[in-house]
């Protein structure tokens, strides 16, 4: 009897060797394909590095790095060509400075409000709207900065230039506000409730708890939010390209117009540049500068973010 069961078992219930083999092969095959797709992202990074480095290499063979970093003029397409990145960099930093001087305090207050003060229902209704603010296309923000914010500011400050760095800075500040708010709010909500309860037990009220306990405890996460927001402001292209002006201008005055690094790249690529021309190489050198700056901020931001997760 048991012999019979064994026979039936082998004949019907045991999958054949071939079946098992094919199934294992398919599983391994799928795993390999999935791994390939995951490592594609590494290829993209390598591609970016390859393109930026190889084209910049061609650029730096003709222009010394020292000149690139110290010359105060950027006129690569003129007869009297100068290749100093400083004017583009100053505009980028000015715009970022304006954006952060709005987004830093506003984002921090909003995050404290949403995480410590607001009721759940307020938070749940408000967050989608903030997400919508994040979803507006950047070209529309550029339009808004040039044709709405600039005229509005000109009524307050009559000597404001038509193209200036103040309006795009403020608009970028609004643009990164939802991001910095949500990341720093996450950091604050990750602070364990015992700390808040301890503070209340010592007689702190909400505001004191928020400012003296929650914010210091979430500080690395909040810093990460602003470092990452800053990196976004630096790399933001269309708003400065539309409303910031096109002339390289070594200034830190936000009421003047000046071309930022991404704005210069856009301006040059709108024209038809022959491959291998000097103008073509400059956009890669400018792009490399932009990439390195944002990469540094991103890495710092990611490290800080990792830290706030590990503390508790």
């Amino acid at each position: 009897m048991s012999d019979l069961i064994k026979k039936v078992d082998q004949a019907w219930l045991q999958p054949s060797e071939r079946f098992i083999k094919r199934r294992a092969m398919r599983a391994a095959f799928m795993k390999a394909i999935l791994f390939g797709c995951a490592s594609l992202s590494v290829l993209v990074t390598l591609g970016i590095l390859y393109v930026l480095l190889s084209e910049s290499w061609a650029f730096f063979r003709e222009i010394s790095i020292l000149e690139f970093l110290t010359d105060t003029q950027w006129t690569p397409l003129f007869e009297d060509a100068h290749f100093g990145i400083l004017p583009l960099l100053s505009a980028t930093l000015t715009v970022t400075g304006v954006a952060l001087s709005f987004a830093l305090p506003a984002g921090l207050i909003l995050a404290i409000y949403l995480s410590e003060f607001a009721s759940n229902s307020i938070r749940e209704t408000v967050k989608p709207f903030l997400e919508l603010l994040e979803g507006v296309p950047t070209v529309v923000y550029g339009y808004f900065a040039l044709l709405f914010v600039t005229p509005l500011l000109q009524q307050l400050m009559p000597n404001l230039a038509g193209f200036n760095l103040l309006a795009p800075g403020l608009v970028i500040g609004i643009m990164i506000l939802p991001y910095t708010t949500s990341v720093s709010e996450d950091a604050m909500r990750a602070v364990p409730n015992q700390l808040r309860e301890g503070a209340y037990a010592l007689g702190f009220n909400r505001m004191q708890t928020a400012v003296r306990v929650v914010v210091p405890a979430a500080l690395s996460g909040i810093t990460a939010a602003f470092v990452l927001g800053m990196s976004r402001a630096i790399g933001e292209t269309m708003v400065v390209a539309i409303a910031g002006g096109q002339n390289p201008n070594l200034t830190f005055n936000p009421t003047e117009g000046a071309a930022a690094i991404p704005a210069y790249i856009v301006q040059v690529s709108m024209g038809d540049l022959p491959h291998d021309s000097m103008g073509y190489k400059t956009i890669f050198a400018a792009g490399l500068t932009l990439f390195l700056i944002t990469l540094a901020f991103n890495i710092i931001g990611q490290l800080l973010k990792r830290r706030f997760r590990e503390v508790y």
Binding site: R23, M30, L34, A38, T45, E55, F117, L132, L133, L290
Partner: protein, 311 residues
Amino acid sequence: MQFIKPFYSHAESRRLVRNQGIKDKLFSVLGVCILLLALMTLIALISDLLIRGIPRLDWAFLTEFPSRKAERAGILSAWVGTGLVMMVTAAVALPLGVAAALYLEEYAKKNWVTLFIEININNLAGVPSIIYGLLALGLFIYTFSMGESILVAGLVLALLILPVIIVATRESLRSVPNDIREAALALGADQWQTLRHYVLPSAWPGILTGLIVGLARAIGETAPVITIGALTFIAFLPPAPIQTDFPYVNFDWLDAPFSLMPIQMFNWISRPQADFHVNAAAAGVILIVMTLLMNGVAIYLRKRLRSPYKG
């Protein structure tokens, strides 16, 4: 007998508590003000576009090619181009993103290779979009000689939104309860069958949300397609993807030059004449309605379909 002298008198401490309560309220008011400022900006932005753009919006605006005369210009080639490029983007980004997320979430061991890939994806999400444009220009166009075509634009936007889709898919996979996986494995399914037939279908709503958010972002992206030479003055349409005779579909359109909505809008904004700014506003209305609609659908889906296994 008093051992500890109170720091504040009774009246003083009452006043102190009341003052602090007022500070709490003031802070709430400040928070609400900033919130209102952000919302007012959104409202101002949309209403400004609507006031300027709506009078210009008519059927002809949608069915005319760009023109040197502002009042005769339309966005036909722009919206057709956007539609075709989005098809390429979705077709490339969805399978790649889902596959990468499946590997990282379901297969990957915790080792340095995985960590490296994860850090890399995080960094890619932070790379400025214009850098992707330079990648496409230097690699796709000059190294692979792919031409300034719809295919290249779709590919570069797909790479741009890949991190968005990967993150959304991973979150969605994580929310699928382990019971499902264990049940499938116990019935003799192997890991791939479990993922294919049980995990992926239950993660699908979250993946879809990620795809919609990603595409909404891709529709509005301008910078990376400017560098690869999207044209603003195209007076013809790419070859139709569907035809009446065999084999009914053709892929010639992938190689065609193209224009896109945000590029068209950017071009009109950069002109000095106010008439073109009106056109830009009208194009902006369509663009923003499209992106807000897509984001709205995504937010709604995320709320409604959070997880089929909860409640």
